[in-house]
Symmetry: C2
Subunit: 386 residues, 2 copies
């Protein structure tokens, strides 16, 4: 298996991009990554996208994006694992490069969510839950995560104020990220006084509906060294995937995210790292409770310690383990298929020392964690400067 590195990142401003189509935002991010990498041809394109069929009536993105980039002929594929689709695009390209099947791969994620109304968007996101046993009966994602929050509160005494601290911190980070959907200072009281969506979750506990795209270029490590110039080379040290039951009703313990635990175990083992080796992380804060639960599942904190840690500022930019310096899904936005790729863009920027005002000091090892549905799938990547 060959060593693989990330040689380019491409991000664009995210938001409600009503003037743009899926193909235009995708292309903008892809071109940005190719320019950052300094390459103009690739051997493979992967696209992470959850539901372009329901959102914009377009499947077969593999063909569309290769064509759109002026590269018809290039092998391309689209992958989907609900909100973890972006990380799956990286995983599959990583396997292709590691195996030696291709050299340079363009890894992308995209979702155009605002071309449909809110009801249709909610229905579409609900297809990430179990349609027959959950969604069809009317529950939506805020309700699913609210149930997990309730159990976490009951087991560990986690509070609404601790969840609100996650929102406050991620919005503070997002203020420093020019590509974030929201540039908004949010206090704990703002969160607690915002509209209840599914108790105990308020509006400001929830990530938004977003149009967005993100892209990476990866290559075998020798090629990466040639192209890097003076910039640090960022190696993919670990990649771990796992699933869990898709329906919450089938889980033994709603206060834990087993897929996150398993995917992290596999990534740590492959990288030869442990939680305390990680200097910076981007995790899947689709709801504030999700950040608390994932920081526990990743081993940054013990069970039940995620909430207090957030409230004490341990996950802030200058904390013990900075989490979601980009602003996370909460503030940067959550175009579901693009999120996992954007997480990796942020960590690469951090490890290269190119994260501007939100730079985490001396970050040399970073982690991304991206999950689908209510934790039915999770993918973790560990990156390091070599």
């Amino acid at each position: 298996m060959r060593d693989v590195a990330i040689i380019g990142v491409g991000m664009i401003p995210w938001g409600e991009l009503w003037e743009d189509s899926l193909r235009t935002i995708w292309t903008r991010a892809a071109v940005a990554a190719l320019e950052d990498a300094g390459v103009d041809t690739v051997d493979l394109i992967t696209v992470g996208c959850m539901s372009s069929g329901l959102f914009v009536g377009q499947e077969h993105l593999a063909s569309m994006v290769a064509d759109q980039l002026g590269m018809p002929g290039v092998p391309a594929s689209r992958v989907e694992s609900a909100c973890a689709s972006g990380s799956l695009a990286l995983r599959h390209a990583f396997a292709e490069v590691a195996a030696g099947l291709v050299d340079i791969a363009l890894v992308t994620g995209v979702e155009k969510m605002t071309d449909v109304d809110g009801g249709a968007a909610t229905y579409t996101l609900g297809t990430a839950a179990d349609q027959e046993y959950e969604s069809f009966h009317g529950i939506t994602f805020p309700g699913l995560y609210a149930m997990m929050a309730r159990v976490h509160m009951a087991h560990y005494g986690t509070t609404s104020r601790q969840m609100a601290a996650v929102s406050m911190k991620n919005h503070a980070n997002g203020l420093l990220n020019p590509n974030a959907q929201y540039h908004l200072k949010v206090s704990i009281d703002d969160v607690l006084s915002s509209t209840p969506v599914a108790e105990p979750l308020h509006l400001l506990d929830c990530s938004p509906i977003t149009d967005g795209a993100a892209a990476l270029v990866i290559a075998p490590i020798d090629r990466a060294r040639d192209l890097a110039g003076r910039r640090p080379v960022v190696r993919i040290a670990g990649s771990g995937m796992a699933t869990d039951t898709i329906a919450l009703a089938d889980r033994e313990d709603l206060s834990r995210l087993r897929a996150v635990e398993l995917s992290a175990e596999r990534a740590y083992a492959m990288a030869g790292k442990k939680p305390s080796d990680i200097h910076v992380a981007e995790v899947h804060d689709c709801f504030t409770i999700a950040e608390i639960m994932t920081t526990e599942a990743l081993g940054f904190f013990g069970p039940g310690e995620g909430g207090p840690a957030a409230e004490k500022g341990w996950t802030a930019l200058d904390g013990r383990i900075p989490v979601n310096p980009s602003g996370g899904l909460k503030s940067k936005g959550h175009p579901v298929g693009a999120t996992g790729v954007a997480q990796v863009c942020e960590i690469v920027n951090q490890l290269r020392g190119e994260a501007g005002q939100r730079q985490v000091k001396d970050a040399r090892v970073g982690l991304t964690q991206n999950m689908g549905g209510s934790g039915g799938s999770s993918i973790v990547h560990i990156l390091e400067v070599v």
Copy 2:
């Protein structure tokens, strides 16, 4: 890169399976493949599915299928390249095993198409074409392939009778396949007198709407030898992917399928084979003209010779190069995400000498060709007994 072999196949009867859901048909095929392989755990599951979001309101199949198989925890992914999704599921699992990231992988394809009415199915299939430049304006796939047929007729003198010969041959083969959707003797006159759908294509030139699933198990070749017992070991000798423009209007020559040509070139090069080395092939006959064009693009016949070859019986079970012994998409059915996987099941059965009444004599090297949309993507695999 490690050598990879196919150690199990699982097919189920295809058709309008109104009593079953996507998850039940998927599970039946998956269990059949695991039993055929003689394994009860896997390290990875891949699912090829074009549009479960639009067809049954369920995305996030990776989580659902791992759960459904009683294996929550196992890494899983869903891939999509329109009607080539099944072959993409094999390609991605092949890369993972070849790289050494996993050992045993369950490769599956599924589509549940009859839970919606015909109009919705036609709309959903249309999302494989360019939504903005083609589908939105009203054209559907019979129309797109009819345009290709018209150009092929104009360039080469290809006739409706030659296309009908493809349908007759594939229905004859399907009569010998207990899993085929149709068991129907069809004559050339039956085809020519069937309802025109999009001239020059008649109803019996078109593949049907089908519910179906198929599955494979793959492993590193050493493991495959251990598990094979007295059965032949079938190695994946070549794997080639390519794209083309998604919209027909952007192509230089509608009488050629460039993505098929390119994907075949890559697969032949990797396998060290040429067209004349192939003993049996399953190709993507979504319409009869598609079989004629793909047999040319694969190099079995020269440009314009595909039609006469079909009429002369060169692609029949006892012909020079038997094509679609399973009955092809035309007779076996075309559950879009499952088709590519089922093609590989058929070739493995042929190479193992387990194809029953439709066994091709002395078949030791086989090929599958699976494409998305109007040839916007194509994937070719070459298998051989080792």
